[in-house]
Amino acid sequence: MSEERETRLLMISPSSRLTPEMLARNIHSMGVEVGLKETCYGCLIEGRRESVLKVAEMARKLQGNSVFSKRRAYRMGDPVRCRAQHGTRPGYSQLEAEWAALPFIEAGLDALDKGEKYKEIPAKEKLSVEKLIEICEVKL
């Protein structure tokens, strides 16, 4: 693994009051030597591994549990983005789909911080054939 460069993606939960601009300003004011790029979903940061991890750790504590982070394989200045050039990288749909679930994860992390216990939720069962027949044959 190359330890020299690490690029990270910081994504803000849609339920948060934090904006990408506020996040970028906060990261600038942390005084850690990393490159930063503001994006529509949050920020991209790039630099030495230790510096990037430090910023990601501090960014997670900015406003509750509303900032999430993961590594990014491609460099911060990668020209392939959104619709600008040849569409997105393949991982973008994954991000888009998970972005919608971030408020639920945020609620889970907040509950952990408060020391709440979670309730076991039974898995949804598949529709039985009998039930399907019953639905199909119902007379309105």
């Binding site: 394989a73 973008y92 994954q94 971030l102 889970g108 992390l109 509950a111 898995a123």
Partner: protein, 144 residues
């Protein structure tokens, strides 16, 4: 401990594993190595001959090349992992993990390695979110 996450490019799982003090094994790190050292233009879409050969270790020659290409990236990570967190039934349109056969192979490889594994589904409500995060925390704290 090194924890393999499935989907291997998941933001939620990567973040949670790191928050709870473990090292997530993800596609991103493996692809970064290809970008920095081999200078492949667009992994995982572009592969090298070595990738194709290493994929053969995990899936036979008759298996579609897409499955082998994916396993060439994920297989070594599964071998390296001390534990795994798997999210079942991710929406089928999920980017580069949108291959059910590869998903089945990943689950099989994890089962064959006999490492501790947690299986979950993506949350659709706050209550489910609390259970999702709580279970991951309990699982990761229980790893020795």
């Amino acid at each position: 401990m090194k924890v393999f996450i499935d989907p291997p490019n998941s933001l939620i799982l990567f973040d949670l594993v790191e928050r709870f003090g473990h090292e997530p094994l993800s596609t991103m790190a493996a692809l970064q190595e290809r970008i920095d050292n081999i200078e492949v233009d667009m992994p995982p879409m572009n592969v090298t001959l070595d990738d194709v050969v290493s994929g053969l270790k995990y899936a036979g020659i008759e298996v579609p090349s897409g499955v082998r290409g994916r396993l060439a990236v994920w297989g070594p990570m599964i071998e390296e992992a001390d534990a795994a967190i798997i999210v079942d039934d991710p929406p089928f349109s999920f980017g580069c993990v949108g291959c059910e056969r590869s998903e089945l192979m990943v689950k099989y490889l994890i089962k064959r390695r006999n490492i501790p594994a947690l299986r979950l589904t993506y949350p659709n409500s706050e209550e489910e979110g609390k259970a999702f995060v709580g279970k991951i925390k309990e699982f990761l704290e229980g790893l020795q």
